[in-house]
Assembly symmetry: C2
Homo-oligomer: 408 residues x 2
Amino acid sequence: MLSGKVVVAQGGGPTAVINQSMVGAVAESRKFRNVDLIYGALHGVRGIIDEDFLDLTQETTNNLEMVAATPSSALGSTRDKPDLKYCHEIFRVLQAHKVAYFFYIGGNDSSDTVRIVSEEAEKAHYPLRCIHIPKTIDNDLVENDHTPGYPSAARFVAQAFMGANLDNWSLPGVYLSVVMGRHSGFLTAASALGKKFPDDGPHLIYLPERVFDIEAFVADVQRVYARYGRCVAAISEGVHDAAGAPIGAPVSKEMERDAHGNVQLSGTGALADLLIEEVRTKLKIKRVRADTLGYLQRSFIGCVSDVDQREAREVGEKAVQYAIWGSKDGSVAIQRTGFYSVDYKLVPLTSVAGKTRTMPDEFISSSGTDVTDAFRLYLRPLLGSGMPDAYRLRSESNQVARILRTAG
Amino acid sequence: MLSGKVVVAQGGGPTAVINQSMVGAVAESRKFRNVDLIYGALHGVRGIIDEDFLDLTQETTNNLEMVAATPSSALGSTRDKPDLKYCHEIFRVLQAHKVAYFFYIGGNDSSDTVRIVSEEAEKAHYPLRCIHIPKTIDNDLVENDHTPGYPSAARFVAQAFMGANLDNWSLPGVYLSVVMGRHSGFLTAASALGKKFPDDGPHLIYLPERVFDIEAFVADVQRVYARYGRCVAAISEGVHDAAGAPIGAPVSKEMERDAHGNVQLSGTGALADLLIEEVRTKLKIKRVRADTLGYLQRSFIGCVSDVDQREAREVGEKAVQYAIWGSKDGSVAIQRTGFYSVDYKLVPLTSVAGKTRTMPDEFISSSGTDVTDAFRLYLRPLLGSGMPDAYRLRSESNQVARILRTAG
């Protein structure tokens, strides 16, 4: 059992429950006598490099609990994707501060950072336990049944479509909504969980796991509109053509690229506006509207899955237990053990780092524009308790006969 | 006390609580022996013209209650703005079905329809009580302290900005978000209720009550960004230049106009994308993101003010009481009587119909880009109970000294 300081940091896009993991790690670390002090690095690994630390040993338990229930990254985050030199610098700072335990909460990029730092420490024969704590609304980490952050974002998306479907029923037309997720369609697929009645939308769901063809899309919308007199479609921001080129990208004037060279997809309504233009022009449907769910998906306060909260808390707590009792490096992974129960295990950093999980085929309908019952069964327990429900007036039995016009 | 049927209908944009008003009117009507049957017209006045009625006398009380708690218009809605001929047709159908009471839930257009139908009935010496029940997320009805639907939409906007502010703090940059409201800034102003800590956003709020100047906007963003290293701005979709031309409109290729000749503003990300392009180009800030809150503001399920629910229910109930006990036509209005309490009164249809209320000057700061405490005091009680709250780690006192670098 190593003695020394603990450093906790948060990387990548915030989620509704990432602070649960942070507080889980901090609260558990506080219980160990071999832990001197617990530092929080501000803005992820950037805060380590800059030695921007908060002493969380001096934070009140009450405030930690209130922060845990607050969405977004309370320590701040970063989009930095450290290379070997950057990671060596991280290691040098951790060493200087006599850090024995490093916990990094993030997605697959963050796990790769943890892997490199772990290797740097090993090379230098410096005893440092490095644990990656999973987090991502995209649900794209391998080795995990699902990742903390995804259930709450999925709940937001399901509730958003539940309401949008009612709105579209009330004032019929075509409604498109663009959902986050560059490579994985899990979040877009969650829109299906907003459906209750047989004619409810979303009637069409477009995932990055399938090639997006604009002509086929317009034909799909036309078919649904002919049948229901309305159409609700969920579209992943990551939809792309057969060559892999994103559909939304060509229209943005100044293309911003992230550290990976990826074109910026979120934070713009370009894809939605391109698609409504297609539908309006080709189908001559008057009422065509589009939303881009945007940052609300990951940061909206007051829409959270209690299952997600609990699990996010536990992965933070387990990380400390694996590091201190187990004295091992790795990535904490969530395994589903029943309907619904989970267990945790520590997997090698190399098995998670830099890998991307996408929707398995059995979750996508053969049409390619819907999800399967297997997916519904997978997602439903994650959404947690107290999901709102939509009700309708019963119109079949209560129709009134016309007097002035013949019933048609 | 007239005997005959009741017709209830819903017009204009849906809200989170419009079904409360509908169920309030239906449930109260069921108590009167002089009411034969209660019809719901499908898709507003369009359903009256088409004689598309549901017999709500045969709907179960349980289902009515579940529908009341469901957002959006359960009877369907319409964007039709009836002229005299259309209103005459409405009257003719109501007469043919022996309707004695007509309740129309909607905004100022709907109140104008009720006014004309009321006048048609009077001209024909046909005894018909016509009552307008207020509803609009824009909060733009005169004679009302506020209108049902606004508090829940305002709560959604406040919660959205509360989360977006945390997200922007975590990954600093410029974040713009476009809020609904063509002529009235009440909903955009609600973004200010998401602020808690002194440096919280939205730092800038742009309302249609003030002229929008793009150069001034860019300078405002620059000033805030220089001070906080980040900037969150709330922008009404109705912002316009000194000549009254909407800022967002010129970029949309096919401009859709509604029955009033207004350019379509919602359901597109054009304004947001135009503004981020300005900021990105002129200020050379890398991280610039924009959302358009879109239809979620009025239809999101699971974010509702309980105060709004109660009041929406009561205006529906009061409408029936005014019509049957009072035997008068008019528009039900909400009056604030204390902090916080309300009462209702019936005002003449002519005093509401076709008029638009905007934000009074005492609610807008002298800078023109913020709200006043008077507005905060006005809005806070409307948001209802159980508002989520955001917490932070206390960073001032817990800063750790640097070892490798001098603290800077």
